[in-house]
């Protein structure tokens, strides 16, 4: 029973991490219509910038996380402003561009830091116990930071003018532009927000799990999975789907072993994509 609940707690913490990751991805798709193939790359970049700040600059861990967020955000902003803006109307071209960025980024990380997984540990260790249930302290801290961030993003999207402008662009770009909302100003900011979220997740999660250049691929696949399940463009859907995926992954890795849980999940999402391309909560699907 205890292991069931503990696995559930791990599933919840995984779900929150995935939710933060998927949030950025679904924001980019909803607002810009861009499938960001480099999302996993920004995750890894965040992890490595945090690691480099701690080990080479001697910065304390919270500052390292902030630096990671800034680095991912700025890189995303510049990339969108100078490269993506030229082709933002053409979905397949933007896809290829983000793919190209991902390849360049992962080569850059590989060349700078080497293929080995560096020693990057969370500064707080220990386990929090409550009776027979336990959760590692690091998971708890990351969980609370993620929850706070998700809450902040929700507030941003639904309570501020900036968020309203972004949602208007997501709904109908032309009408929003006609109303005076400037995509050229807001798209880079939206992209930067999403990549900063990916970088934050990387900086927080990689010391707990593992930091290595090749992590970008599974992270990207998981983001795809969650965002398709929840509905491309839907923030609430992405959060819910992230929890589903987190729980399934936690329970299947403890009770089933191997990658059977991942396989079942992939097949389920494939079927879902075919039957209901808009996912659980997605908007009306264009071009499908």
């Amino acid at each position: 029973m205890e292991s069931f609940v503990s696995t559930g707690l791990i599933g919840v913490s995984l779900g929150v991490q995935y939710a933060l990751l998927a949030l950025g991805f679904t924001l980019i798709f909803g607002i810009l219509g861009v499938v960001n193939f480099s999302h996993g790359g920004f995750y890894v970049l965040g992890g490595y910038v945090a690691y480099a700040s701690v080990h080479y600059l001697g910065a304390p861990y919270p500052l390292a996380v902030v630096l990671a967020v800034l680095a991912s955000g700025i890189l995303g902003y510049l990339f969108e402003l100078f490269l993506l803006e030229r082709v933002v109307e053409d979905h397949l071209s933007t896809l290829m561009l983000t793919l190209g960025l991902f390849l360049v980024m992962s080569t850059g990380i590989l060349v700078t830091f080497g293929p080995e997984s560096p020693q990057f540990t969370f500064p707080v260790t220990g386990t929090w116990r409550y009776g027979n249930y336990y959760l590692p302290k690091e998971n708890l801290i990351v969980l609370s930071v993620c929850v706070v961030t998700i809450g902040a993003v929700y507030l941003l999207m639904y309570k501020t003018d900036f968020g309203r402008a972004l949602r208007a662009l997501a709904d109908d770009r032309r009408v929003a532009a006609a109303q005076g909302i400037r995509p050229r100003l807001l798209f880079p900011l939206a992209f930067a927000l999403a990549t900063a979220l990916a970088g934050l997740t990387g900086a927080l999660v990689t010391p707990i799990l593992c930091l290595a250049p090749h992590l970008a691929d599974p992270v990207l696949a998981t983001s795809f999975l969650i965002v398709i399940l929840g509905g491309l463009g839907s923030v609430g859907g992405a959060t819910l789907a992230a929890f589903i995926v987190g729980m399934v992954e936690a329970y299947s890795s403890v009770y089933l072993g191997g990658s059977k849980g991942a396989l079942a999940l992939f097949v389920f999402v494939l079927i879902m994509l075919v039957i209901r391309p808009s996912g659980l909560f997605g908007q009306e699907v264009h071009g499908a």
């Binding site: 499938v35 896809l95 290829m96 190209g100 992962s106 080569t107 850059g108 494939l270």
Partner: protein
């Protein structure tokens, strides 16, 4: 050039004939050089070519497919399993099998998947590749799981075993030629159907084109082409392992086609040749090659949307247009009735696509 030759070229397509010509010329490579490095490099290029053709065929219908590794794996593993377990090594049988198995699997998959387009199609095919690779790992009894299937027997043609490097090269050339022939027949015969689907699918449907027939056909043939590439790969390595068919390797094949030029059948050949060679040149610094690919993709998408071959054709046409005298056709409305007597002959202005 006689008129008959010209109309033959126009029927088959200049790019298509050039592609087939180049592939046939490849048979002469062992005569020019016996460097094993060159033979290996050309073999790798020839393995990539059918896979790039698979992407090319799908792009003719405006569908970007990330499922090439999945179908390559199907073709490769069916050849490997049949070779190892049933002892069948005849090349023709294996080729037919590696084309047929993915094509047949593509039929029900296509029924599910082809209703999606654009970004959603990309995601579904990416998931397909992920699922296939996971399935390869999770079914060790059939596919050898993470060990793969090693020690495949060499393929035989009419009883002669094709074992040495030159024989592998010749088989790779033959497979690439087969793929090119299939691609040529499909894309030339159904050129207008695919173009209508690509241009405006709803309009084509409203005009009476049964779109899903041609999409299924294209999808199945693209799957078969990828299967041939898989067989070619496994024939060179004599091992079938899931790591050769990762979902991200689909990016490589797409890059070959896009960088070469997705508008002409010669594009995938140019792209494969260029990028596989570049990949090999990075063999000492292998970690740089994905970055190089990425830079190329970015440059091509931003500056050379038609790829190398497409941009070259455009430049050639522009140059030809500048140096050719413009001659008026007789449909030009004459200013005065008298001017109709001095009409100039029909100009030869057809633009070859």
């Amino acid at each position: 050039m006689t008129d008959r030759f010209r109309s033959f070229v126009r029927f088959c397509g200049a790019a298509e004939l050039t592609s087939i010509g180049i592939l046939v010329l490849a048979f002469g490579i062992p005569l020019l050089s016996s460097s094993p490095f060159l033979v290996s490099l050309v073999t790798q290029i020839l393995i990539a070519i059918p896979a790039a053709f698979s992407v090319y065929v799908m792009l003719r219908m405006d569908l970007m497919t990330f499922a090439v590794p999945a179908f390559m794996a199907m073709g490769a593993y069916s050849a490997a399993i049949v070779g190892l377990r049933a002892g069948i090594t005849d090349t023709i049988v294996l080729t037919a099998l590696s084309f047929a198995v993915p094509a047949l699997v593509a039929l029900p998959l296509g029924a599910l998947v082809l209703r999606l387009r654009g970004v959603y199609f990309v995601l579904v095919t990416f998931l397909l590749s992920q699922i296939t690779q996971l399935l390869l790992f999770e079914t060790p009894k059939l596919t050898g799981g993470s060990n793969g299937l090693a020690g495949m027997p060499a393929t035989t043609l009419f009883g002669v075993a094709l074992e040495d490097n030159r024989a592998v090269l010749f088989l790779a050339i033959a497979l690439a030629l087969l793929a090119a022939a299939i691609t040529m027949v499909l894309t030339r015969y159904y050129r207008q159907h695919f173009a209508a689907i690509k241009e405006n699918q709803i309009l084509a449907e409203s005009l009476g084109l049964v779109v899903w027939h041609y999409k299924m056909l294209g999808f199945a043939v693209a799957a078969g082409l990828a299967g041939i590439a898989g067989f070619s790969l496994v024939n060179m390595l004599l091992t079938a392992h899931p790591s050769s068919f990762s979902a991200m390797s689909s990016v490589d094949y797409i890059a070959y086609t896009i960088v070469g030029g997705a508008g002409s059948m010669f594009g995938p050949i140019v792209g494969s040749a260029l990028l596989v060679t570049a990949n090999n040149m990075f063999s000492n610094r292998g970690e740089y090659s994905p970055g190089f690919f990425g830079l190329l993709i970015i440059i091509v998408v931003l500056a050379m949307k038609d790829g190398i071959v497409g941009t070259a054709i455009k430049l050639a046409q522009r140059y030809r247009g500048r140096s050719r005298r413009i001659v008026l056709t007789p449909t030009q409305i004459p200013l005065q009735p008298a001017a109709a007597a001095e009409q100039t002959p029909v100009a030869d202005q057809t633009v070859e696509r």
